[in-house]
């Protein structure tokens, strides 16, 4: 029963993947798509080939990696904090990443440095999100109240944006533009090497998750019971932080902050299965996150027009109503 639903999600993912490759400002016939896929690429004209292999394929893979990774980060946060409203964005992890990137793009100019490599931005984003996560965790040891934690997460966001505001006041329009474009989020324009790095990070993150599946399930009983079942709580906590920072920080570095996926997908997965067993929940959330972001990407391309919307705006437009719907039906809110 549950495996059937997961299989259905796999099929849906394949369908959306093909749709994402074929639809857009230029429609590509399925025949051309099939020719490229089966290696008979010379039967397709060069511009179509370029659109598929250099533009749409990287973007579709980017959407899958981003959707799956953010869903994982959200799921881990919800289990760790035992809070159904936790997620990389709500707790200010994305804001931390944003602050890190702002410091590198705009702060570097202030102290007279000019070289801003892509690697520097990625590193800044990862350190930014790691910093906020560790701060949140240190606070969570003292404060058992989860609502308090959420408010602190929001305050982190405010603090970050205040610092970003000060930085942008003093930076050049060129630097400001670069930061604003980063913060709108984008799945496009990725080089294959960049996608390979993100894929590597995602695979490491997923591999580490495999090691803590049992502790994650034990955490569903609360920390004291988990401890009594022989779970190494300290190690599990730090593993969760590490994985979340890798995934959320890495994705935010490449694609910019992308809202709501990490919060909404774990809930949708729990409702679909329905179970909180991480052995089922993890594959489901991975697939559902990938599907959802492919849908968002399709919407953002505005098929049949020449316009495309920033991805972060689309996920918020689709995600905010979902979260409101979840809160209205409070009985469906679990962790």
């Amino acid at each position: 029963m549950k495996s059937a639903r997961i299989l259905l999600l796999v099929l849906l993912l394949l369908l959306l993947f093909v749709a994402d490759l074929c639809l857009g400002t230029v429609q590509i016939p399925l025949a051309d798509f099939w020719n490229i896929l089966s290696g008979q690429a010379n039967e397709v004209d060069a511009s179509t080939r370029f659109i598929i292999t250099q533009l749409r394929l990287p973007r579709a893979i980017m959407a899958i990696l981003t959707g799956a990774g953010l869903s994982m980060a959200g799921l881990l946060m919800q289990t760790l904090f035992r809070n159904p409203l936790a997620g990389p964005f709500v707790l200010g992890i994305s804001s931390g990443a944003g602050l890190g990137v702002a410091l590198v793009i705009m702060g570097a100019g202030m102290i007279g440095l000019s070289s801003l490599s892509e690697t520097g931005i990625i590193a800044a984003s990862i350190f930014g999100s790691l910093g906020v996560l560790i701060l949140i965790l240190l606070i969570s040891v003292r404060i058992k109240d989860t609502m308090g934690l959420l408010i602190i997460g929001l305050m982190m966001g405010s603090l970050s944006s205040a610092i970003v505001g000060i930085l942008s006041y003093f930076s050049s329009s060129e630097q400001l533009k670069r930061y604003v474009f980063w913060s709108l989020g984008s799945l496009g324009g990725m080089q294959w090497t960049e996608i390979a790095i993100l894929a590597g990070i995602s695979i490491i993150g997923l591999g580490l998750i495999l090691l803590i599946i049992k502790p994650l399930n034990a955490l569903l009983l609360g920390e004291s019971y988990a401890l009594s079942l022989g779970i190494n709580l300290k190690r599990t906590r730090w593993m969760i932080i590490l994985i979340t920072s890798l995934l959320a920080g890495g994705i935010t570095a490449f694609a910019g902050p992308i809202a709501f996926i990490g919060l909404a997908v774990p809930h949708l997965s729990r409702l679909l299965l329905p179970t909180v067993d991480h052995r089922m929940l993890i594959p489901t959330a991975l697939l559902m996150g990938a599907c959802l972001l492919l849908v968002c990407d399709l919407v953002s391309q505005l098929p049949l027009t020449n316009y495309s919307l920033p991805i972060n705006a689309v996920t918020s437009l689709l995600g905010a109503p979902v979260v409101i719907w979840l809160i209205m039906k409070k009985r469906n809110l679990h962790f």
Partner: protein, 253 residues
């Protein structure tokens, strides 16, 4: 054998309760912990479980200091029932019990036939089969409490540490459950240590009574305690009368 040796338990630098000399919780015995609110019953239980509130002295499980036990090895020796309920209410009773076999399963938590056997045996003896596929959020407080006690039994340990196991239960369930637990402990050589506010039930049931009074931890045989004036001193009230040598008390006014 679980022993305490000149211990002080409490928080930070604040000692809540102490015990002088060395005492042991014997095999196949029920020990009730009695004391007024805030006396340190839960603090003592937590210290016995994992040494978390032990400020001074030694707590030893099978001769080895409780702090030096490997967590997984310890989870095969001691199971707990706590008053806090921070779990996911989306869990099914079945999933909760399966997770309680964690000390014995592999890194993915895969259950073996032996694990299923244990779960079903406990479900049968606790009469919980009808609740097997219910989510925790749909249970009443009393049903949940019985499930939590069953959970500790599923863990299949030598020691059961329980904090107010009879809370939320009807009087018939209280009696059934506690006397069945006693029978189980005596037959299988398990030890149960539990904190309780149910003085009468504790006196009727337990092999030993541990009292925490004015920061002092003492052990009593049941008869020894009822013959003394300890209970009157521990629970002073103008409206309450303990009768020496009896496990009953009444309300004379």
């Amino acid at each position: 054998m679980l022993t305490i040796d000149n211990i002080q338990v409490g928080y930070g630098s604040c000692v809540v309760a102490r015990h002088e000399g060395e005492s042991a919780f014997a095999k196949a015995e029920l020990t009730a912990i009695l004391g007024t609110n805030g006396a340190g019953k839960s603090t003592l239980l937590r210290s016995l479980h994992n040494g978390s509130h032990l400020l001074n002295g030694n707590i030893r499980l099978e001769g080895l200091d409780i702090n030096n036990w490997n967590p997984t090895e310890r989870s095969r020796k001691i199971a707990v029932v706590l008053t806090e309920r921070h779990f996911s209410y989306f869990l099914k009773v079945r999933e909760l019990l399966e997770l309680s076999r964690s000390p014995y399963t592999n890194f993915l938590g895969k259950l073996q036939p032996l694990d299923h056997e244990r779960i079903h045996a406990v479900m049968q003896s606790f009469d919980l089969e009808s609740l097997f596929d219910r989510r925790l959020g749909t249970l009443s407080d009393g049903q949940l409490q019985r499930v939590l006690i069953a959970r500790a039994m599923v863990q299949d340990t030598e020691y059961l540490l329980m904090d107010e196991p009879t809370s939320h239960l009807d009087i018939n369930h209280k009696a059934d459950l506690m006397f069945e637990l006693r029978e189980y402990c005596h037959e299988t050589g398990r030890s149960m240590i539990y904190a309780s506010h149910e003085i009468q039930l504790a006196l009727a049931l337990s092999d030993k009574i541990l009292t925490i009074h004015q920061g002092q931890i003492d052990f009593f045989e049941r008869k020894e305690l009822t013959a003394s004036e300890k209970l009157e001193k521990m629970f002073p009230s103008d409206y309450l009368a303990f009768q020496r040598g009896d496990i009953k008390f009444n309300f004379p006014k």
